[in-house]
Amino acid sequence: MTAQLPALQVIIPLLCAPFCVLLRSRTIAWLLFLAAAAGSLACAVVLAEQVSDGEVLSYSMGGWRAPYGIEYVISGFNTPVLLLVSTIAVIVAVYSRRSLAAEVDSKRIPLLYACFCLNLAGLLGIVATGDAFNAFVFLEIASLSSYALIAMGRRRRALLAAFQYLVVGSIGAIFILIGIGLAYGVTGTLNMADLAQRLPEIYGNRALSASVIFVFVGLAIKMAVFPLHSWLPDAYAEAPSAVSTFLAATSTKVAIYIFLRFAFTVFGATLVFGTLTLDRIGLLLACLAMVIGSGAACFQSDLKYLLAWSSVAQIGYIVAGFSLVTASGLEAAYLHVINHAVIKAALFGAAGLLLLRLGSVRLTDLAGFGRTMPWTFAAIVLAGLGLVGIPLTAGFVSKWALAMALIEDGQGLVLAVMLVSSLLALVYVGRVVEIGWFREPSPVIAASAVTATSATSRSSTAERLPRSMTVATWTLVLLSLYFGIDATLPATLAESAATALLGSGG
C-alpha cells in the first residue's frame, strides 16, 4: 500500500469533493474535509519519513513510465511543502466548522467544503507532480476553487475581490501555459526530468528564453511578488476567515515552491539566474516588496487588510532568500515559507475570532479589545512578535537564517532593507497592540462585553468563543513559538530541500 502513497496524497481530497456535493449535508461535508486533510497529512508524514534519507520516490500514473505517462516525484524538495499544506489543512478544518457556520449562508456550506477539498487536492497535486503540464492542470484546479472560496466572503466586496483575482490569476495561468507550450515546442516533452535533461543542449534558443519569462511572470502573479501583488490584499481580507487562514498559509507558498521547482530542476539555475539574471531582478523586487508591503500595512484601517499587506512584504523575504541562489539562501527561503505560513495562519485565525465576536475587524472598532478578549489578544501579540522577528519566535529563526545568507553573499544593502522592513513590521504590529490594549474600549467592544455578561447570567456558554476555533488558533500560535525555540524540524526539512534542489540538475 505504501507504494500508492504519492497518488493517494492527492486522490483522497479529490475523492472527498464529489461526495461533499453528492451528500449535501453540512456536517458530513465538514467531516469529509477533515478526513481529506487528515488523510493527506498521514500520507505526507509517511512519505517524508521514506525520503528523509535522500531517496527519490517516483510514481507512474496509469502505469505508463515517464516521460510517456505522468509521473509523481516525491523528494526532499517537496515533502516540506506537502507537510505544511496538509498540516494547515487539518487545523483549518477544525477551525472552519463554527467559523463558516457564522459567516456563510448555510445552504452554501456543503459546496464550500467541496471547494476546500478541491483546493487542497489542487495544491498537493502541484507539489507532488513531476510533469510540467500536470502542474498547470492542478494549478487551475487550485486557482478556480480559490476564486470561488474568496467570493463567499460576507460582504459584497468579496465578489469584486474574487473577480479581480480571477482576471489577474487567469492571465497568470495563460502565461504559464504559453511558457510550457514553448518549452514543449523546442523539446517535445512535458516531463520535468526529461525537460531538464534536454534543455541544456539548446540554451540560447530564443523560444526557450521566452518560455522561461512566460512561466516566471505567470508564477510571479500567483506568488504575489511585488508589482504583481495587487490581487492579494482584497482577496485575503474579503474572504471568509477560514478561507483567509488557509489561503494565506498555503496558496502563495505552493506557487513559490513550483517556481523553485521550475527554476532549479527544469530550466536550470545557470539559465534562469545566470543568463536571464533573475537573481538580481528577484533581489530588487524583494526589496521593493519588503518596504512597500510593510509600509502599506502601517496605513491600513482594517486588521485583515493589514495582515494581507504584511504578507506582500513577507513574500519579499522569501524571494530575497532564493534569489541568492546559494544553499543557505534556499534554506532560509524554505524556513520562512514554513514559519510565515504558521504565523500568518495564526493571525488570520485570531482575526476570525475577533470577527465572530465583534462583527468587524476595523481597527477603530477593535479599540480596547485586549481587555474583553485577553486570550485572543495574547494570540495576536505572540504571533505578531513572530512577524516582527523577536528572538524565541519562529520569525526570528528564519529572518536570522536569511540575514546570515545575505551576509555570506555580501548583500549588505538587501540586509539593510530587510531591517527597515522589520522595523516597519514593529510599527504595524505595535499599532494593533496599542489599539487593542491602551485605547478606551470602542462602542462595539463595550456592546459585546455587555451581551457577554448578560449572556453569562442566562446561559454561560452561549456567547463564549467556539472552543474548536480557539484551539485551532492556539495550536498555530504555539507551533510558531515551538519553531522559534526548537527549530530542528523545519531546519532539517529546509536543509534537505535545499540539497535536493541544488543537487538535481542545476
Binding site: L15, K107, R198
Partner: protein, 330 residues
C-alpha cells in the same frame, strides 16, 4: 501546397480582423457573435493542421456553449461596454505589447511550420504514441489513447476543473429566489412559434443520439467525452430556450443535475481507485483485465469517457440553467 498556404493565410487574416473588430466593438451582443466567429475560424485552422479532435472541441465549446453562456450573462447585465478612460488603457496596452513582443521574439527560434524534423516529431514520446499505442491500447484514434490513457491523469484534472467551475457557479447562483409566475414574460417564449417548436422537437432526439455517437465513437474517430457532454447539454439548452426554463427543469430537475455533476468525477476517480485495489497504479486500465491488457484499456477508456460526458453535460446544463434562472427571478 500553395493552396494550403493560401487557406492558412486567409484564415489567419480573418482571425486577426475578427479579433481587432471585437476589441473595437462596444455592443457586447455583436462582440459575442464575433467571438463565436473567432472560434469557428480557429476550429477551421485546427482542421487544416489535422487536429480534428481539437477542432471538434473548439467548435462545440467555443462556438456553441460558450456563446450561449455569454448571451445568458448579457441578458442579466447591460449589453454595452462602459467607456474606459484613455489614460487607463496605456498600462494594459503596454503589457499587451510586451507579451506580444516576447512571443514574436520566441517565434524566431521555433521550428518552422510543418517541418518533419521538429523536436516534437523527433522525441521518442511521439514515436511511442504513434507506433506502440496500437499494440498497447489497440484503438485507432491515437488522440484518444493519449488523452484517456497515457495522459489520463491530466484529463481527470481537466474534468475536475470543469467540476470546480460547476460547483463555483452553483454556489454563487443557485440560491436565487424562486421565479414568480407573473414575472415570466409569456410573449418571449419561443414555443408559441409553430415552426420553431416543431423543428426543435424533431431536432432534439438527433442531438442527443449524436452526442452518444460522439461519446462512444471517440475510440475510432474524432470525439470523446468532452465534446459529447457539450453536445448533450446543448440539446437541453435548446429545449430551455424554446419551451422555457420551467419546461426544461421538469425534464432535467436541479436535483438530478446536482446528482449527475459529482457522479462523473466519482466514476473517473473510482476507475482509478479500482485499478489501485486490483494492484495496478492509479488509472492503470491494464489491471482491469490482466490476461488481455487491450480489453482492460478499452473498458477503462470507455468508462472514463462516459464519466467525462456525464459531468460535462451536467455542469454545462446546470450553469446555463443557473444564469437563465436568475433572469426569471429578477
Amino acid at each position: 501546397m500553395s493552396t494550403f498556404v493560401l487557406m492558412n493565410v486567409s484564415l489567419f487574416a480573418i482571425l486577426i480582423a475578427t479579433a481587432l473588430a471585437i476589441t473595437r466593438l462596444r455592443a457586447l451582443y455583436e462582440a459575442t457573435m464575433l467571438t463565436a466567429l473567432f472560434s469557428l475560424v480557429s476550429a477551421s485552422l485546427f482542421v487544416l493542421l489535422d487536429a480534428v479532435d481539437v477542432a471538434f472541441t473548439e467548435a462545440a465549446v467555443g462556438v456553441g456553449i460558450s456563446t450561449v453562456l455569454f448571451l445568458g450573462v448579457l441578458a442579466l447585465t447591460r449589453s454595452r461596454e462602459a467607456v474606459t478612460p484613455r489614460h487607463r488603457l496605456w498600462p494594459a496596452g503596454f503589457v499587451v505589447l510586451l507579451a506580444g513582443g516576447t512571443l514574436i521574439y520566441a517565434v524566431q527560434d521555433l521550428p518552422s511550420f510543418g517541418a518533419a524534423d521538429t523536436p516534437v516529431q523527433a522525441h521518442p514520446v511521439t514515436e511511442t504514441y504513434l507506433e506502440e499505442s496500437q499494440h498497447d491500447i489497440g484503438i485507432p484514434n491515437t488522440v484518444t489513447s493519449v488523452l484517456a490513457s497515457y495522459r489520463g491523469y491530466d484529463t481527470l484534472g481537466e474534468l475536475v476543473v470543469i467540476f470546480t467551475a460547476g460547483v463555483a457557479v452553483l454556489m454563487l447562483l443557485a440560491h436565487a429566489p424562486r421565479p414568480r409566475e407573473h414575472l415570466v414574460h409569456r410573449e418571449l417564449i419561443l414555443a408559441d412559434y409553430r415552426i420553431v417548436r416543431v423543428i426543435s422537437k424533431i431536432l432534439m432526439p438527433f442531438i442527443l443520439v449524436f452526442a452518444f455517437y460522439v461519446l462512444f465513437h471517440g475510440d475510432y474517430g474524432p470525439g470523446g467525452g468532452f465534446q459529447a457532454g457539450v453536445i448533450f447539454a446543448s440539446g437541453f439548452v435548446l429545449y430551455a430556450l424554446v419551451f422555457g426554463l420551467d419546461g426544461a427543469r421538469q425534464v432535467l430537475p436541479q436535483s438530478v443535475l446536482l446528482w449527475l455533476i459529482p457522479l462523473g468525477v466519482l466514476l473517473y476517480v473510482g476507475v482509478g481507485v479500482a485499478n489501485m485495489l486490483l494492484g495496478g497504479a492509479f488509472l492503470d486500465y491494464n489491471s482491469l483485465n490482466p490476461g488481455d491488457p487491450e480489453v482492460g484499456q478499452h473498458a477503462g477508456i470507455l468508462l472514463v469517457e462516459t464519466a467525462i460526458g456525464i459531468t460535462v453535460a451536467a455542469v454545462m446544463a446546470a450553469v446555463f440553467f443557473s444564469f437563465a434562472g436568475r433572469r426569471l427571478s429578477r
